[in-house]
C-alpha cells in the first residue's frame, strides 16, 4: 500500500504554456526524489503527453504530483484529471496503434510505456482521470541515510551519495 511522503503538488493546466511548465515541474520533482536524469526525463515526457490531452481534448484540467513510498520503493504518482467529455473506448485509446494523424492521437499509449503503473478512469459524466506512477528502488545505503535523517541525527551529507 503506497503512502504519501509529502503534500501533493497541484498544477492547473489550461494552456499550451502550462504544458511546458508542467514538464519542468515534473522533472524537478523527480530529481528531488532521487530519480536518475533518464527517469526524470521519462516522467516529464509522460506528463507532457497527458497534459496535452487536458488542453486539447478536455478544455483544461488538473495535474497532481505526489511523492509516494511502498516498502523499498519510492515513487512519483501523477494524477491528471478533467471534466471533459470522457474517452468512449479506453481500451482502443490505450492500444498502441491509436496514434492517428493531425494530433488525434491521445498520447496515452506512449505515457503508459514511459511509466510503471498506469490506469485510466473515464466517463461522460465525470470526465477522465489518468493515474500513473514511476518507481525506483531504494537500496540499503540510501535507506540507512533516510532513517538517520528522520531520527534527527547530524548529517554527514556529502553530495552524490543518494
Amino acid at each position: 500500500m503506497a503512502t504519501e511522503l509529502e503534500s501533493p503538488r497541484r498544477v492547473a493546466i489550461s494552456s499550451d504554456n502550462d504544458i511546458v511548465h508542467a514538464r519542468a515541474q515534473a522533472r524537478d520533482m523527480s530529481i528531488a526524489l532521487g530519480f536518475s536524469s533518464t527517469d526524470a526525463t521519462l516522467v516529464a515526457t509522460a506528463i507532457s503527453e497527458v497534459a496535452r490531452n487536458l488542453v486539447v481534448h478536455a478544455g483544461g484540467g488538473d495535474l497532481v504530483m505526489t511523492a509516494v513510498a511502498d516498502g523499498v520503493k519510492t515513487g512519483l504518482t501523477i494524477e491528471a484529471s478533467d471534466r471533459g467529455p470522457g474517452i468512449r473506448d479506453v481500451e482502443a485509446a490505450l492500444g498502441s496503434r491509436y496514434t492517428g494523424r493531425g494530433g488525434l492521437g491521445l498520447g496515452l499509449p506512449g505515457a503508459r510505456r514511459l511509466m510503471d503503473d498506469f490506469s485510466v478512469d473515464s466517463s461522460a459524466e465525470s470526465g477522465t482521470v489518468v493515474r500513473m506512477t514511476k518507481w525506483r528502488i531504494i537500496d540499503e545505503l540510501e535507506r540507512l541515510r533516510q532513517r538517520r535523517s528522520r531520527d534527527g541525527l547530524p548529517q554527514g551529507a556529502r553530495d552524490g551519495t543518494r
Binding site: S36, L141, L153, P154, G156, A157, R158, T161
Partner: protein, 290 residues
C-alpha cells in the same frame, strides 16, 4: 584555583557553565591531550598510525571539540571528521576504533572534571549538566561522519562494479565495442542502454559493435530493451552492428515485431568489426530507422 571554584555559588546560568567548562578545557589542553593519547595507545586503537600522527590528529579533534562545545555548532567538527575519515578509511581504520577514541576523550574529560570539581558536588553536577549533552552530540557527529564517509566509499565502489560489468571499449576513433556477457536482466539492460548512449556522446561514436555472443537467452522484456538501445543510438547518429546473435534471440526479437532485416547483424565479432570499418570509411549512408 580549586578552592575558589569550590566556593562559587551554585546559581550559574547555562551559558556561564559552558563558558567555564570551555575555559577549563583550554587551560588543561596539554595535559588532557597527552592523557588521551596515552589511553588510545593503551587500548591499542589507531595502531595503523604512528605516535606522531595520532598526536597530530587528536590535537585537531580536541581543538575542534572544544570549539564545538563553545559555539554549539558542530559544522567545523563535522568537516574535520569527514576529512579525517577520508584519510583513515583507506588505511583500514574501522568504526569501532573511531567510536572508541571519541568515547575515550569523553572519559578523559569527564574524569578530569570529576577531579577538578570533586569538592563541590553541586557545582560538579552543574558542569556535567552542561558537558554531557554537548559531549554526546559531538560523539554522534564524529561517528556519523565516519559512517557517512564509509557509505560514500561503498557507493563509489558499487558504481565502479556496475560500470565494469558492462564495459564500453573505444577501439578507434568513432568506433565502440560493447561486449555483453552473462545474464542480461531488465535492470542491466536499462543500465547498459544508458551507458551505451553516454559513451556514444562522450566518444562521438558513429558505429557501435554490440556483441551478444556471451548472452544466453533473453526474454521479451530484455529483447525490447536491446531494440530500444539500437533505436536510441540511431537517434544520436550512431549505427549499431549486432554480432553473435543466436537464432533463439533472433526469434525473440522477430516475435517483438521488429523487422530483423532492418537491423545490422553480423555473425561474429570479427565480421562485425569489418562491417564497422566499412561503414566508417564509406562515410555516411543514410542510417535506416527501424
Amino acid at each position: 584555583m580549586a578552592k575558589t571554584k569550590a566556593e562559587q555559588p551554585n546559581t550559574q546560568s547555562d551559558g556561564d557553565r559552558l563558558a567555564e567548562l570551555v575555559a577549563y578545557l583550554r587551560d588543561k589542553r596539554t595535559t588532557l591531550r597527552e592523557e588521551w593519547a596515552r589511553r588510545i595507545t593503551e587500548a591499542d586503537l589507531l595502531h595503523v598510525m604512528s605516535a606522531e600522527e595520532i598526536f597530530s590528529e587528536i590535537t585537531a579533534v580536541y581543538d575542534n571539540y572544544v570549539d564545538a562545545l563553545q559555539t554549539g555548532s558542530v559544522e567545523t567538527l563535522q568537516e574535520y571528521a569527514r576529512d579525517l575519515s577520508e584519510r583513515i578509511i583507506p588505511r583500514g581504520v574501522d568504526t569501532d576504533e573511531v567510536l572508541g577514541i571519541v568515547l575515550l576523550l569523553r572519559d578523559v574529560l569527564a574524569r578530569s572534571l570529576f577531579t577538578e570539581y570533586l569538592s563541590n558536588p553541586t557545582l560538579l553536577n552543574d558542569i556535567l549538566d552542561a558537558y554531557e549533552p554537548a559531549a554526546n552530540r559531538i560523539a554522534v557527529t564524529v561517528g556519523v561522519s565516519f559512517v557517512d564517509e564509509r557509505e560514500r566509499v561503498i557507493r563509489e565502489q558499487q558504481e565502479s562494479i556496475r560500470e565494469l560489468s558492462t564495459p564500453v571499449l573505444q577501439v578507434r576513433e568513432r568506433l565502440l565495442i560493447l561486449p555483453i556477457i552473462g545474464v542480461l536482466d531488465a535492470q542491466r539492460a536499462r543500465q547498459l542502454t544508458e551507458q551505451l548512449l553516454g559513451a556514444i556522446q562522450a566518444n562521438r561514436a558513429k558505429v557501435v559493435v554490440m556483441d551478444i555472443t556471451g548472452v544466453g537467452t533473453v526474454d521479451v522484456a530484455v529483447a525490447n530493451h536491446l531494440v530500444q538501445a539500437v533505436e536510441a543510438s540511431r537517434l544520436m547518429g550512431a549505427t549499431v552492428v549486432i554480432t553473435g546473435l543466436s537464432s533463439r534471440i533472433a526469434q525473440t526479437i522477430v516475435d517483438l515485431g521488429v523487422d530483423l532485416t532492418m537491423m545490422k547483424t553480423v555473425g561474429d565479432l570479427q565480421g562485425g568489426l569489418e562491417e564497422a570499418e566499412r561503414l566508417l570509411s564509406a562515410g555516411d549512408l543514410p542510417v535506416e530507422g527501424l
